[in-house]
Symmetry: C2
Subunit: 251 residues, 2 copies
Amino acid sequence: MKRIESPKNARVKHWKKLLTKKGREETGCFLLEGFHLVEEAVKSQAPLVELIVDERTTIPPGWDVSDVPVVIVTETVMKAISSTETPQGIAAICRQRPHELTGVKTALLIDAVQDPGNLGTMIRTADAAGIDAVILGEGCADLYNPKVIRATQGSLFHLPIVKGDVAEWITRLKEQGVPVYGTALENAVDYRAIPQSSSFALLVGNEGSGVRRELLKMTTENVYIPIYGQAESLNVAVAAGILLYSLQTAQ
Amino acid sequence: MKRIESPKNARVKHWKKLLTKKGREETGCFLLEGFHLVEEAVKSQAPLVELIVDERTTIPPGWDVSDVPVVIVTETVMKAISSTETPQGIAAICRQRPHELTGVKTALLIDAVQDPGNLGTMIRTADAAGIDAVILGEGCADLYNPKVIRATQGSLFHLPIVKGDVAEWITRLKEQGVPVYGTALENAVDYRAIPQSSSFALLVGNEGSGVRRELLKMTTENVYIPIYGQAESLNVAVAAGILLYSLQTAQ
């Protein structure tokens, strides 16, 4: 078992690169931090490259990680690679896994959602609502940004998430008989008018400007959530939650 | 009109105190940043103490602020008092306004929600859903924390928000004939079993540990949102959105 004491070690420098989008793209890997996220990765048989463990921390006995290399590090090293102020003592390097999507019945299409918390929360909500896949369009926060990963609470390991062209996906889903509902504030129907179904796609858009107009023109129907008070709109992740739970068939 | 150039000016030091909870409590004031929030305060006739304007910025002509003192400041001063990296050039000092709640028909009770983004987002959602009042129990993030204010998107000016004892409020609301629904993962009914109503209170709890057990024992009924996928739970603000929109009568 390797042991690394210095944050200047070449391996540590390599890990730190994963805190940047560029570093993640170059290596095809990302960094996971904390017991809950690493455990979700282990349980989901995600392609772990190595476990990084603080010398004062023990790997929980129930984890099936006998085939994953373990590197022991000092607290200083752990802090150097962490995006949080008080790291939990465990981290992992994981390979990004491409997904081939076939036979998708339900999907969440996300267009240009920039806030990492919103993006991660929507992935978590799609998982909870039993959605088959999430499509991330251009302009979205990076899926492997530590804040996105944290907000998913591990759901990124539970359902396929692919980067793609939202316009192409709208066309493709409609061709497969899956109705696509865009979210809009006007020229739309009350979301409660849409019947529950086991087959639908929901399209949500940027926090400030909403779904792009050219995409709203391509959907099967556009829906709005009525505002009863004085708020101008709902947070995009809250809106996605209300709509996914309204559209999804009770199982 | 006053003009302040130095971040060392005593007035600037006074404003900076409002970035801390202690400073806000001592002064009974809070700081608002950016055009949207200040405009919401102006439109809602919030008790503004002064407007702070970057020397290169113009107060929008439509704002009715003739009775609010204006202080012109340099970019350096604006940066010194801002909690964001790129301040928008306008800020305001506002007095905290206590609310007396009478005749509340619908309420959101929040117990120990610590994340400022979650707290602010729930206030925004309660406003959108036309809820009468929000009660913040012990252990919640400070309502006047800049991150909370930002996440409310101005909704803190649209409905009364009071700090209070959640247990007392549950009793009081039930005595007034308002059913109180707690949120729980077990020993609860599917939320869709609760009929829509123009009179209800929803109780949500801490991100990690949920609503405290002693409070769940006091409610009229506890509800859960079914999880169809592998997520363990929903984000508290998303859950609140789903439940408020499910419980609220369509208006």
